[in-house]
Every structure is written in C-alpha cells, then in structure tokens.
C-alpha cells in the first residue's frame, strides 16, 4: 500500500504568520498534489508537481507557495496566513504518465486565528 505522510496533522496559526505543511511519500511517484477541502466543496487543487524541482499552479494557488526539493517531499507554504486559509489540507501522490490512482495523506487541519 502506498504511503503518504503529512505533518503537522493539526496546526493553529496566527494571522500573518508563516505556515509550512510537509508531505512525504515513499512510493517513488512523480506526481504530487496539495488540495484543500472545505465543507460543501470537493477537493480543490492548490499546487502540484511533476517531479523534483517542479511546481505548478493549480486552481486556487493565491496565497500559497509550494516546494518540491526531492522526489519524496512536497511542501505547501503559507507566507502570510489568513483566516480564509483555515481548512483541511490533503497531500496526494500519483503515478507516472497520466495521474493514475491517487494516494492521500491523512490530512492536516489548519486553523488561522
């Protein structure tokens, strides 16, 4: 079974603070994704990556940066957190070529006060 690990699992931040969400996958997948999930919405794509050194904007990238320093690690960075970024964030990895089956981490609940 593919393994995707997120940290932290829970985070409380203050408005204007910097938040980094980390994701590690041991599946050797090229593709990695960051989504946020809010009640009443499907998962919305923030940033994604095709491999080490690559980051691409998803559907809602404003206010977020991403970093893919290695095949295994993909971080989501909120330089200046805002209350509207309070959400549950999911990292996923997927296979080569087409996206293939996605494997999700367990989610990171972020509260921005």
């Amino acid at each position: 079974e593919a393994a995707v690990t997120q940290s932290p699992r829970n985070k409380v931040a203050v408005t204007g603070g910097k938040v980094t969400l980390s994701c590690n996958q041991t599946n050797n997948h090229n593709n990695m994704y960051w989504y946020r999930q809010d009640t009443g919405h499907g998962l919305r794509l923030i940033h994604y990556s095709y491999g080490a050194g690559s980051t691409e904007k998803g559907d809602i990238p404003d206010g977020y940066k991403a970093s893919r320093p290695s095949q295994e690690n993909f971080s989501l960075i909120l330089e200046l957190a805002t209350p509207s970024q309070t959400s549950v964030y999911f990292c996923a990895s997927g296979g080569t070529g087409g996206a293939g089956q996605l494997y999700f981490g367990e989610g990171s609940k972020l509260t921005v006060l």
């Binding site: 919405h41 499907g42 998962l43 070529g97 996206a99 293939g100």
Partner: protein, 109 residues
C-alpha cells in the same frame, strides 16, 4: 466542480438498506476514483476504475467513459459507512483530476 456533478449531495439510509451515488462528467474522463472521508478526516481509497465495474464487499462501482458517468452502489449499509464520499475523475485531454463536491451519507440504526 464544473467538470464533475456528484449527486445526491446528502443521503440518509437506515441500516441494511442501500442506494447509489452518481457522478456525471462534462468531458471524457480516462479513469475515476472513489473515496470516503471518515470520521477522523482521512480519505480512504475505495475504487480506482479505468472502465467496467469493481466490487468490494458491500460496495460496487461502475465507470462508463463513453456515457460520461460513474456510480457507487452501497448495499446493506452499516453505521460505519457514514461519511462523505467523493468521486475524482482524470480528464483524458490533459490528465487533470476533477473532484465532485461530495455526498454526505448518514446511516441510521
């Protein structure tokens, strides 16, 4: 999402009964995946289909790329089936993944 219309948005079932969830697609999809978000907030993989049907226990899923839909059937619903179910589909044209808005399922005794 715009490319995926998931229904119903909410569903209540009594234990032992069944129903179906559906996702309609506005464009041709290469594959579909179904998830359940459990009470702990984790996304559990249920099915990944490129075509046809798959069955696992009390769950069965079908995907018809040509007709642009996928279904998830639940039979003999149990309390632990409660949660939010999502479909996600991969567009053939650009490999993008589009999610439905979810179905909140509540199974009652």
């Amino acid at each position: 999402g715009d490319q995926v219309e998931q229904s119903p948005s909410a569903l209540s079932l009594h234990e032992g009964t069944g129903s179906a969830l559906r996702c309609n697609f506005t464009t041709t999809m290469r594959a579909v995946q179904w998830f359940r978000k459990n009470s702990r907030g984790s996304l559990i993989n249920l099915f990944y289909l490129a075509s046809g049907t798959k069955e696992n226990g009390r769950l069965k899923s079908a995907f018809d790329s040509k007709e642009r839909y996928s279904t998830l059937h639940i039979r003999d619903a149990q309390l632990e089936d409660s949660g939010t179910y999502f479909c996600a589909a991969e567009a053939t044209s650009n490999n993008r993944i589009f999610f439905g808005d979810g179905t909140q399922l509540v199974v009652k005794p």
